[in-house]
Symmetry: C2
Subunit: 140 residues, 2 copies
């Protein structure tokens, strides 16, 4: 008969924030948009979390770090929650996301190329003539 009056360290919102590194308010935000479940409440109406919430929040954060939108995170979680997720379904989501990332990279590289070659023509002097301004002004 152990743990009679110190069963488990209870996790409240601040605790979950510290455990995960997530911002305190963001946790509540994730709850309101439905990617985090509404946790049970203590007698004083405090949110009470457990390990499953820690895991889920970390999943969300890691997904976000990899650039998944919250809508995509919702889809991933729906697959996981459904229990019937298949590797094939997840792969489709991941590949779709990968495509949009590759598009973004291509866009940024194009921008980087244009800017780099334009700035390279700058004298950098105290003169009003500037290739960058010209490039932005030209009718394109």
């Amino acid at each position: 008969m152990k743990n009679h009056h110190k069963p488990v360290k209870i996790i409240r919102r601040g605790g979950l924030a510290k455990l995960t590194g997530c911002n305190l308010e963001t946790i509540r935000y994730y709850e309101t948009i439905g990617v985090m479940p509404e946790p049970p409440r203590s007698s004083k109406n405090y949110r009470v979390y457990d390990d499953s919430h820690v895991t889920r929040l970390r999943f969300i954060m890691r997904s976000r770090e990899l650039g998944f939108t919250l809508e995509e995170v919702r889809d991933l979680l729906a697959l996981v929650d459904g229990g019937a997720q298949t590797c094939g379904e997840v792969q489709v989501l991941a590949n779709t996301h990968l495509t949009s990332i590759r598009t973004k990279i291509a866009d940024l590289k194009r921008i980087e190329h244009v800017l780099t070659s334009t700035v390279a023509q700058c004298t950098g002097d105290d003169v009003p003539e500037c290739p960058v301004i010209d490039a932005l002004t030209e009718v394109a």
Copy 2:
């Protein structure tokens, strides 16, 4: 004595939108945030634009296409408006922007690499085990 009762085709908001490809509402937005000037109004309170507005809006749009934030656009315009802009000053703004673009590219490439190598391990089958889900779940 020509153009006696057809002086110049007047440009209203819709006209400016068509000339530039800019969204109608965005033009008003740019005015409220101060990157586009308040144009004169007709007797019926319609905004009346001229070539200078077309040029300026195109400058803004081109800057946005190159990924400058509206705050950066404001800075660029301030230099141009001041009349005393120097190539050196513009170059500084452009290089700062370039740095942030390169950072974004690097971030996206890292993400792309992680996702690509993870998805590559997927069987894509109708099985619940999935390397992507594992990667998102792992404590990292």
